[in-house]
Subunit: 122 residues, 2 copies
């Protein structure tokens, strides 16, 4: 349950970033939530290969770190929707740049556009 993080006594920004987002599933979760809120079951469906336990754990940590919002509706059967907070949204340009970079360097993924559409600035 307790996360094991890299030592970071000098508060290195790179290490901090890795500790907070550098996992297998977290970037993908933020990516899937980029444009809309999504239900738990949908995330489970989209993220082929993840177990509900691991998904739950990752969502809890993202919530704890202020990236996502968990909204529970008082219905039966239960409905829970996850969405990005402002902090979560502010991370999207980073993910976008990562995807852009990947498309540039990997012809085999170039046909697929990055799903992240950044909201227009004002």
């Amino acid at each position: 349950m307790a996360r094991k993080l890299l030592e970071n006594k000098d508060s290195c920004s790179m290490l901090h970033t890795i500790n907070i987002i550098g996992t297998k599933w977290k970037p993908l979760i933020l990516y899937l939530l980029a444009n809309k809120s999504v239900r738990f079951g949908k995330l489970l469906f989209f993220m082929e290969g993840v177990s509900r336990k691991v998904l739950t754990d990752q969502l809890r940590e993202l919530e704890e770190d202020g990236f996502i919002l968990r909204q529970k509706f008082g219905e039966v059967p239960p409905r829970v929707e996850y969405s990005l907070t402002d902090k979560g949204k502010s991370f999207l340009p980073v993910l976008k740049q990562m995807c852009d970079w990947t498309i540039q360097w990997n012809p085999e993924v170039s046909f697929m556009d990055c799903k992240i559409v950044l909201p227009a600035e004002d």
Copy 2:
């Protein structure tokens, strides 16, 4: 030895990025190589907590993926220097943006500047 990657039959750019760079140590290695070539022993020293075995594995994979160059000098005792390829260098702006984001959102790391200095464009 064989890496275990996420399924990605639709060639999703996000998944691809995670598969190629989304690990504990790889971003940090690229970060440490940002401005100069570095010897194996130095990397081991800088990366507190990593074992030589894991460092070797990560370096091999980064080399395999074209991010870094391994230069072996014919000396005894041996000297091996690692440096970024063009592909590796092209990933630096992504890491830079990650660090910038982290500094923005985490006051406790704000005093420390990101070590990555991007080469001037022409």
